[in-house]
Symmetry: C2
Subunit: 418 residues, 2 copies
């Protein structure tokens, strides 16, 4: 029988070299968030399926991995059953739905403004392709219970700080607001009901360009005048700047909010990155209610972080209104980019201590501990007959020092000089 040794389709085995970089990156992000007072929580990857399906996950709902009921609950006898009869659990497709459920479930023991951090894998049964996996890691920070601009400012400052701590600078925070989009789109002549559909089309701007958007708008059953107005707005608002928004029906209060967040964030950035208003920013999810933002880095065709305000979602679980806002680093994209840039984990001193089969192993282990006390990471391996080949291999595995055990003096040497 031929055994399939590959991970399941769209899933990945992470080798030691890649894992070392991933863990370093995750560590820097988590520590930055932690030192900034975000509290790390953990939710299960498995959720009751009705919480997943009942969420406003849009397209993601089609991509849920569903878990088969077990034992007597799995009733094949029933006629004409559906997927719903077979599955009671599912794998989470994002971290926001579990966070919302967590908050509502635990809020008696949480601060009234809760600054949460969550890092974990999410699962989507998408068509697997290069660089696109069915399980991937997200790093989210969220502020629940704060409806003021402080929340926007803090999320942007803290996420940017985490990237800076990885020596990622010169990125751009693109900022927009769903209320701005809504006012302008309505002013252009679309109806309230058309808003979501128009957003979906404008969201393709990066891919299809302005003419592509125009074409798609015209193919739909929208007023041609409205479409023409919107194309003009897309073309000109970013040039004119936020001050023109009032002409488009955006309230002065919203314009002031947007300007303050951008200006103060830019002041805090102190030149390490830029913060820009971008009217063409849409973001896909239907649950955003206010600010939306992304981080664009280099000429990647995608953002490395994204988020926004979703004031209607958390409270939905318990029939209350609870403001909430989140910013999520696309961990996989960030790591891929850093690995493309040949990122190295700093200050890593990895030493391999070699011994002969005749050496007393417990003495070798003691020697290894002595070297560890000097700050080295020390792996112990039996010396191979072909020492040169063995040392080359350990260089490949990321080691930079070696020593051959001796009961007298064990000398540490550079691997590269070998």
């Amino acid at each position: 029988m031929k055994v399939n040794l590959n991970p399941a389709k769209g899933m990945r085995d992470i080798t030691p070299q890649e894992k070392e970089i991933r863990d370093y990156v995750e560590g820097v992000i988590v520590n930055t968030y932690k030192q900034s007072g975000f509290e790390l929580i953990e939710t299960p990857v498995v959720e009751n399926i009705e919480n997943l399906i009942g969420s406003k996950g849009g397209e993601n709902l089609k991509l849920i991995f569903k878990i088969l009921k077990r034992g007597e609950k799995l009733d094949f006898a029933k006629e004409g059953f559906t997927e719903e009869d077979l599955a009671d659990l599912g794998l989470r497709y994002d971290l926001t739905v579990p966070l919302s459920r967590f908050y509502c479930n635990n809020r008696a023991n949480l601060p009234s403004v809760f600054k949460a951090m969550q890092v974990g894998n999410v699962f989507r049964a998408e068509r697997a392709q290069k660089g696109r996996y069915r399980s991937f890691k997200q790093c989210d920070i969220d502020i629940i219970g704060d409806g003021t601009k402080s929340a926007e400012l803090e999320l942007i400052a803290t996420t940017a700080k985490a990237l800076n701590a990885l020596n990622v600078t010169d990125f751009v925070v693109r900022f927009n607001d769903r209320r701005v989009l809504k006012a302008v789109i309505l002013k252009c002549g679309f109806t309230e009901e058309e808003f979501d559909g128009v957003c979906i089309i404008v969201d393709k701007l990066d891919k299809v360009g302005l003419s592509g958007v125009e074409k798609e708008l015209n193919e739909k059953d929208y007023s041609l005048g409205a479409s023409a107005n919107l194309v003009k707005a897309l073309e000109s608002i970013n040039d004119k700047g936020t001050s023109c928004l009032v002409e488009y029906g955006v309230s002065e209060e919203v314009v002031k909010d947007v300007e303050e967040i951008i200006n103060q964030s830019r002041e805090f950035a102190d030149g390490k990155y830029d913060v820009e208003f971008d009217f063409t920013l849409i973001r896909g999810m239907g649950y955003y209610t206010g600010s939306i933002f992304e981080i664009a880095y280099k000429n990647l065709g995608y953002s490395i972080a994204g988020g926004g305000r979703y004031d209607e979602m958390v409270g939905n679980f318990i029939g209350e209104k609870i403001p909430a806002i989140g910013f999520s680093i696309g961990f996989e994209r960030l790591v891929n980019q850093l690995m493309d840039e040949k990122f190295k984990v700093p200050n890593l001193e990895k030493l391999v201590l070699l011994y002969e089969s005749g050496d007393k192993y417990i003495d070798v282990l003691k020697k290894a501990d002595d070297l560890r006390a000097q700050g080295y990471t020390v792996a112990v391996y039996e010396k191979a007959k072909k020492l040169g080949k063995q040392l080359n291999q350990f260089t490949e595995y990321g080691y930079n020092k070696f020593a051959v055990y001796s009961s007298e003096e064990t000398e540490v040497k550079d691997l590269s000089s070998n």
Copy 2:
């Protein structure tokens, strides 16, 4: 509609206070293993179901969470279908099966002796009960490709070192060998075929006592003489010590192996913990082929770590013989025990910086960064009207310092003294 806010049955929400302790414990373990040259790998929680079902997981196979096929692959039209027709994936129930698959899949790029570490959640659809979850974390180290005693010595020394680094000492490593068990049980008069069944009964010794084991043996269809011999052996071998094993048909070579591992491990322990031969140690899994060991701590009714040699398992995937041995810390049990002992994360300086709604928020954030540069973890929150109540709450959340923002001087105070 009443929404169920609880995690799925047997799963858990982990709150910030618990998460802080868990992450500290995990960090100490992972760093100890890493500095000892174990390479961290990651495998997906989702595996192809045939790899899970084809493994020698014994009872665990009944507990697999199976994932429903998606789209066209899910064929309800077929008559008389079974679970196998509906599921193509499953959640891993341990870390050893994924490790074995990983090793076989990646071994071209791994050292010929591979020292692996894996930390992650595993999933078992067990009856949920207090302290027993359907998703729980394991921390494994394994050495693949080394059939010598060095592997046993290193795993025991390294696991013990990780526990010591958490100030866990005075535990006992119980050590036995499946080859010892087999020789003695055969010598007592059982047949080769009866071995596994006898082990299952003896494994209950901790729970039912010697008389209970005797009763169960006598209820089965075993030779009464063999059962009587075994009860006598269980009663006396630990008293007599390993030197008596040769009388019971254990080869001198195996006895020497066992004695050397125990003596050298004890020498390395240097009094911080004990290492004992224990003929009554069985360990449940059928795949063990040689050494088996557990760590008993205090009077807990269970071990906090367990492992053994499983020389037949990894190679099975590719039809080769590849020696392998692992030691797994039961992370949940360890954390529960530490939390029962009121474990505190050391050196944690958590400060809450309070501001008034009129303060310029970006200046507050800058002040927070200044305090972080002094080594504090700093969370920023708006000052509540009832300051005393607010400070008490932050004490509960684990904070020990506070400061009220001022554009002039921001004074740091102890929370406890408030």
